[in-house]
């Protein structure tokens, strides 16, 4: 008996504008991702890799096709229901970190937990735990502006993890970091995938980063062109 895939895209398209100015960011994407996979999505700029990620993360709505999350058709959900899906199952890591300014690392990590309706004590405990895992417990009271880029991204990962999601979606998580910091971040993600079985979907344009994943999806012109396990030999 085949298990229900965690994420299944069938003929997904995302079209911006109309007529002459129409842009097909996604043009019939078929994709299945199972629980526990570490998937890298690559492709030239404009290939639709970020759009695919946003559709999977319910941050953007597709214009056509079907998207099933754990067997539930997402297109039929209201905006509020999609928010609940993000709240309980998804965590995000962005290239630009997207932390709230003038807000401590701890409060940033607490943010998703507020919407989960946890008590103050539970929230702080979970958030501290997540920060600890990222090696940032001594930075909990610092504002993002007082942290380095690598530290900010680790706060963002802590925020993505704090709510115990089933999938972490990372959009160019190392795009703003140097090689050494990038490797650190990737090792963190890999560790989460290997030791905790967390499903990770990552968009990147760096081959070195994609090597940390188990599966590589190559996109061109809004379509999946190649989908294969990463060769450990590179």
């Amino acid at each position: 008996m085949a298990e229900t895939p965690l994420i299944q895209l069938k003929g997904i398209s995302r079209i911006y504008g109309a007529g002459e100015t129409e842009v097909r960011a996604l043009d019939g994407v078929d994709l299945t991702i199972r629980e526990g996979e570490f998937v890298a999505i690559m492709g030239p700029s404009g290939s639709g890799k970020s759009t695919a990620m946003n559709v999977i993360g319910c941050l953007d709505a597709p214009t056509g096709g079907e998207y099933f999350f754990s067997g539930v058709e997402v297109d039929n959900l209201s905006a509020d229901q999609r928010a609940l899906l993000r709240r309980h199952y998804l965590g995000f890591v962005f290239q630009g970190y997207n932390l709230l300014p003038r807000t401590s690392a701890l409060d940033n990590v607490i943010l998703p937990l507020i919407y989960k309706g946890l008590s103050r004590a539970e929230r702080e405990a979970l958030a501290m735990q997540a920060l600890e895992k990222m090696g940032l417990s001594d930075r909990a009271g610092h504002d993002p502006s007082e942290l380095s880029g690598g530290q900010q991204q680790r706060v963002a990962i802590a925020r993505a993890l704090a709510g115990r999601p089933r999938v972490v979606l990372a959009d160019e998580p190392t795009g703003n970091l140097d090689t050494k910091k990038s490797a650190e971040i990737m090792e963190v993600l890999q560790h989460l995938n290997r030791s905790e079985g967390l499903t990770i979907i990552m968009v990147t344009h760096e081959k070195d980063m994609a090597q940390y994943a188990d599966r590589l999806i190559w996109m061109v012109d809004g379509r999946v062109e190649r989908d294969a396990p990463t060769r450990k030999v590179g």
């Binding site: 928010a83 998804l90 003038r102 507020i114």
Partner: protein, 403 residues
């Protein structure tokens, strides 16, 4: 859940302290300016009405000449009045309660080393009751003093202060022009009139003394007439005009060479002026309100990008649109309330200070307080909430990428 929203909003307010402060400031300026200005304006209007009432709504002034407002007593080419004219008005008209003859000029009053330029007025005891003056110390004139024109005088409070300071003036002799006269009484102060002129700045002496020793003639400049209670000033005015035409032998079809002025006319004129004043103040206040509103608007619009990204982050981590919107709504309401309350308190304090400085009654108007508060709060809420609402309805990714 509501409490959670309020807490989120308070956190956001504290986190964006500068933005919150500027928003509150906008509301404070708008509300305080309007309340202060309208309070002072309405106090002034009330003061005018009160002054006119004090003057007596049953009072008429009879002056020679036609253009009383421009010329005034003495400057008229028309023949002046005499004491006999005044007494005929008093005796022959049943509508008249008191008619007091007055003549006055500006002159310097001297006592010792002190001197003070003031209004020197000749009249008799009828004037005190007609105009509502009370003697605080000393006495009014004896009939014999009035008849013989004795050099005695009664001082207004300002003259007493200027010439005598802390010394007791009663029984002292002051000099006016070449006349030396004894101070026999002191009047209770009436304070400043509506236009700020000092009503207490005058010296009163018997009419005869004034005519012989100061003016050197036997003229009377005008009559100060109080009509009986319950008699309309309109009717009294008509009767006085008829009698005066007879006294001054003005033929049929000829113009009056005198003017009977009704205090109600003066009152109407004065309240017209204060209406203009209040209107002007209100216009200035409205501009302040607008400026405050634009300030609030600017802050809100400038921070729209940051707020939109914040909303994108909140949506991404699982907030629902209505949760984000109620947070921003509560934030806007809290800021407007804080600003509004500070503005009301500040406005009332400024109004009180202003009213005291201008010696007008302090008259806050709840309607204006509500209006000013309502307007500023509405601006705060509209410009705080609606951009947030728009952002919360975007796809989260569009909010996150907002430039």
């Amino acid at each position: 859940m509501l409490w959670e929203t309020v807490k989120l909003a308070l956190q956001a307010i504290l986190r964006n302290a500068l933005r919150s402060f500027l928003t509150v400031l906008g509301v404070v300026i708008g509300v305080a300016a309007v309340i202060a200005m309208v309070t002072v304006g309405q106090g002034s209007a009330r003061q005018v009405t009160a002054d006119v009432e004090k003057l007596g709504s049953n009072v008429l002034m009879v002056m020679p000449g036609q253009d009383a407002m421009q010329g005034g007593p003495g400057s008229s080419v028309a023949p002046l009045f005499s004491l006999r004219d005044n007494d005929r008005v008093q005796d022959q008209l049943s509508v008249v309660d008191i008619a007091a003859p007055l003549s006055a000029t500006r002159a310097r009053a001297v006592f010792g080393n002190e001197n003070h330029r003031t209004d020197v007025t000749g009249t008799d005891n009828r004037y005190f009751s007609a105009a509502g003056w009370e003697v605080e110390r000393g006495r009014i004139f004896e009939p014999s003093e009035l008849q013989s024109g004795k050099p005695v005088c009664i001082l207004g409070e300002t003259v007493r202060k200027e010439l005598f300071g802390t010394a007791d003036p009663l029984g002292e002799t002051i000099r006016i022009k070449t006349l030396s006269c004894e101070v026999i009484g002191l009047l209770r102060s009436k304070g400043a009139s509506t236009f700020g002129s000092d009503q207490d700045d005058f010296v009163i002496m018997p009419l005869k003394t004034y005519q012989r020793r100061v003016a050197g003639n036997s003229d009377v400049s005008f009559f100060y007439v109080a009509v009986h209670d319950g008699v309309s000033t309109e009717r009294a005015k008509q009767e006085i005009e008829r009698l005066m035409r007879e006294i001054r032998r003005i033929g049929q079809g000829e113009e009056d060479d005198f003017t009977v002025m009704d205090m109600k006319q003066i009152a109407t004129m004065l309240s017209g002026i204060t209406d203009i004043l209040t209107g002007l103040l209100s216009a200035v206040a409205a501009v302040s309100l607008l400026v405050g509103g634009i300030g609030i608007m600017n802050i809100m619009l400038v921070s729209v990008t940051e707020r939109t990204r914040e909303i994108g982050i909140r949506l991404a981590v699982g907030a629902q649109a209505h949760q984000v919107m109620s947070q921003f709504l509560v934030e806007a309401i809290v800021l407007s309330l804080i600003g509004g309350l500070i503005g009301i308190v500040l406005g009332l304090i400024l109004g009180l200070v202003g009213a005291n400085a201008l010696s007008v009654p302090f008259m806050p108007d709840p309607k204006i307080v509500l209006l000013a508060f309502g307007f500023s709060a509405a601006v705060g809420v509209i410009f705080g909430y609606f951009p947030a609402r728009r952002a919360a309805r975007l796809n989260p990714i569009d909010a996150l990428r907002h430039e």
